[in-house]
């Protein structure tokens, strides 16, 4: 098992948000996590990478069998976890090129010092895949980027870092159909037995392009229903209400 979440309870300030989440992702699997607003999906994404604002009250998160609850966000990244943010922050004065070079250097530790020319070549190829103009290399990170450009920037990073597990937090929201297709293409490019993903979304739209192995429904801080890709179609036609009712029962 690549990722194993066991009975996870978390709080932000005094409010309990995750109320006992259980989830397992095997190597090479792509899972979708769906659910209405406020159900705790983004909280789970942030907690997985160790956001300091969230307190884990109980439960465990195992990555490759190792309990990572005490690990800092940077250590989790170095283990091979990646989060594509729902709202990537702007970092003024730090160019995309400088930031990516440094991150790749750290995350590929062990491969020796980064060959700059090779890196730029690789970066340009990845930008072409993501349909990003090369002038982005010299722009300040996310500053003045449109919503769609920010999302592409996240997936570009995923392509370069080649994580073992990518968590995509509503990467599809606010994207037009072309951008969505490009984002999906990025994920599909990495798909294979060394890459797993947890795709968090409201809508089935992105799942038309990335076919998930498993689908989970989260409501009120719990995963209430899990199933195969066919669950997506059912949600599409019936909405979340029937699940809510079932959960109450």
């Amino acid at each position: 098992m690549l990722l194993q979440i066991e009975n996870l309870h978390t709080r932000i300030e005094e409010k309990e948000i995750l109320k006992g989440v259980n989830l397992g992702i095997e190597r090479g699997e792509i899972h979708a996590l769906m659910g209405p607003n406020g159900s705790g999906k983004s909280t789970l994404a942030n907690v997985l990478l160790g956001h300091p604002s969230y307190t884990v009250a109980s439960g465990r998160i195992l990555f490759e069998g190792q309990d990572i609850l005490e690990a800092d966000p940077e250590d989790r990244a170095r283990l091979g976890m990646f989060l594509a943010f729902q709202y990537p922050v702007e970092v003024p004065g730090v160019t995309v090129g400088k930031f990516l070079k440094r991150s790749v250097e750290i995350l590929r530790d062990g491969e020796g010092p980064l060959n700059v020319n090779k890196f730029i070549e690789e970066l340009r190829a990845a930008m072409d895949t993501m349909g990003m103009d090369r002038s982005f290399i010299n722009r300040y990170l996310n500053e003045g980027f449109s919503g769609g450009e920010k999302k592409r920037m996240e997936i570009l990073q995923m392509l370069l870092f080649q994580p073992k597990l990518a968590i995509l937090d509503e990467t599809d929201s606010g994207l037009d159909i072309d951008a969505l297709r490009i984002v999906a293409q990025g994920v599909n490019r990495l798909r294979g037995d060394q890459f797993s993903a947890l795709i968090i979304t409201h809508y089935q739209r992105i799942l038309d392009y990335i076919k998930p192995d498993k689908v989970h429904i989260m409501i009120y801080g719990r995963i209430v229903l899990s199933g195969g890709a066919d669950l997506v179609g059912e949600l599409e036609s019936r909405g979340y209400d029937w699940i809510r009712e079932e959960v109450r029962l």
Partner: protein
């Protein structure tokens, strides 16, 4: 819930000291006898002694500033005002006493001289102990020497310009400097001569409870260019020291002068400096003023634009850490038509440090075509730290284009989390954000100084994460 950024201040790398081996030192405190002694030690002409005494009188009369940084702990009676470290100045590093040579080696001055400087003056306590200028510049008539030597070798130039940009009674600390000045630089660049490689002076305090009062006078004759760089450090002592320099610049018609400061005093030094330039027709003066160290700094480099189409620029970078107060900024006086100015200020406060921008743009009456642009950006690294902005404007003409922008930002937890989720440690992430904040300004620095500044900021930011 949100936690403060916990980056500890880096260790100050220049806090070492050597024993007092001064060949002469005045007793503690200041009176007329001390001023006369300093003047006698320097074999000065009578007019300079009289000028010093007027400075002393003004110093006694003038009140302490009732604004700016907190100076209440300065005790003028507990300071040594003059200490002569060696019998004479040397032109070769090897000739200096071992400890003094070691000091400059550790700071890296001889190496910098070999790599990218056209001339160096090195001051140790009260005197310039080493001075050298490339011979090709000397042949072109460029003068770069200690002001005491200029008084002897170029008396007419010194007498003509000394104290004309900053009068002896300008403010309490300029008056003090006038009374007890010692060391500094004198530069004269002849008409049309361009000194393409920078000249540098380095100021080192070694003694405890010491006052350093260097005096710099730069005269750039018509159409000339010079870039002068100064750096400074001191040992860490529990008692306070005082540094009060006076820097006067004259940029004659069409001349350009760039003056770069990387101030890195230890945190027991009061740094109270008066810097002012006059720019004549089509002249350009640029102050690049980096304040990283000291306990308190009050410094507002000024440009008086006296001739048409003159341009003045101040780039101010301040870093206020624990126990530090950086009260810095710039002052531009538009006294002629078609003059323009830019003030850019960037400050960073952390661990309870206070960084204040204080600036003045003044436009005289009946002028046309005046342009001025002021930008102040402050970055706060934690909730304990503070920043203030005091922009003053006195505009007495109509045809003035004046822009002012001020911004305060904080390192956000979201920025840190983002960068950490990409593998950067918390301290590296903070440093990246700080460097990013400074980037637009650092880009404008000469390469060597951009590197030096980045290195200093890195040292200040260095440390373990709590």
């Amino acid at each position: 819930m949100s936690e403060a950024v916990t980056v500890e201040i880096g260790e100050y790398k220049y806090g070492f000291a050597f024993p007092d081996r001064s060949v002469f030192k005045t007793r503690k405190g200041l009176d007329e006898e001390i001023v006369r002694t300093i003047s006698r030690m320097k074999n000065e002409p009578e007019w300079m002694l009289q000028y010093r005494l007027r400075g002393l009188e003004a110093f006694r009369r003038k009140p302490m500033p009732n604004w700016g940084a907190d100076l209440s702990e300065i005790n003028f009676d507990e300071i040594y005002y003059y200490a002569k470290p060696t019998e004479d100045r040397k032109g070769r590093w090897e000739e200096l006493p071992e400890e003094i040579r070691k000091t400059y080696d550790r700071i890296g001055i001889p190496e910098a001289e070999r790599k990218f400087l056209a001339g160096v003056g090195a001051q140790y306590d009260s005197e310039i102990v080493y001075h050298n200028i490339r011979s090709d510049l000397e042949r072109k008539g460029v003068v770069f020497c200690a002001p005491e030597d200029a008084l002897r070798d170029h008396p007419e130039l010194v007498r003509k310009y000394f104290g004309t940009v900053i009068p002896f009674n300008d403010n309490k600390f300029a008056a003090l400097n006038t009374a007890v000045w010692s060391g500094g630089s004198f530069i004269y660049v002849p008409k049309g001569v361009r000194v393409e490689i920078p000249l540098q002076a380095y100021f080192r305090i070694n003694l405890e409870s010491f006052g350093q009062f260097e005096r710099t006078l730069i005269i750039a004759d018509e159409g000339s260019f010079v870039h002068y760089i100064e750096g400074c450090t001191a040992p860490i002592y529990s008692r306070n020291s005082l540094h009060s320099a006076v820097v006067e610049i004259l940029a004659l018609k069409g001349a350009r002068v760039r003056y770069t400061t990387i101030q890195n005093w230890s945190n027991n030094v009061y740094n109270l400096v008066t810097k002012r330039a006059v720019a004549y027709e089509e002249a350009v003066v640029e102050w690049v003023d980096g304040n990283i160290g000291s306990k308190r700094t009050m410094k507002y480099p000024a440009v008086y634009l006296l001739g048409q189409k003159a341009h003045g620029e101040v780039l101010s970078i301040a870093f206020a850490g624990k126990g530090q107060e950086q009260d810095t900024g710039g002052k531009i006086v538009h006294a002629a038509s078609d003059t323009s100015s830019v003030i850019t200020s960037k400050s960073i406060s952390k661990d309870g440090g206070i960084a204040s921008y204080r600036g003045l743009i003044k436009v005289y009456p009946q002028l046309t075509g005046i342009k001025s642009h002021v930008v102040c950006d402050a970055l706060l690294l934690d909730p304990q730290s503070k920043t203030n902005t005091y922009p003053y404007m006195e505009i007495e003409s109509e045809d003035v284009s004046m822009e002012h922008e001020a911004r305060v930002s904080r390192i956000s937890e979201e920025q840190l989390f983002y960068l950490r989720s990409r593998g950067l440690s918390e301290s590296e992430a903070s440093l990246m954000i700080v460097n990013g904040f400074l980037d637009p300004l650092v880009k404008q620095l000469p390469l060597e100084y951009a590197v030096e500044l980045n290195r200093l900021i890195e040292l200040e930011m260095e440390g373990s994460v709590g």
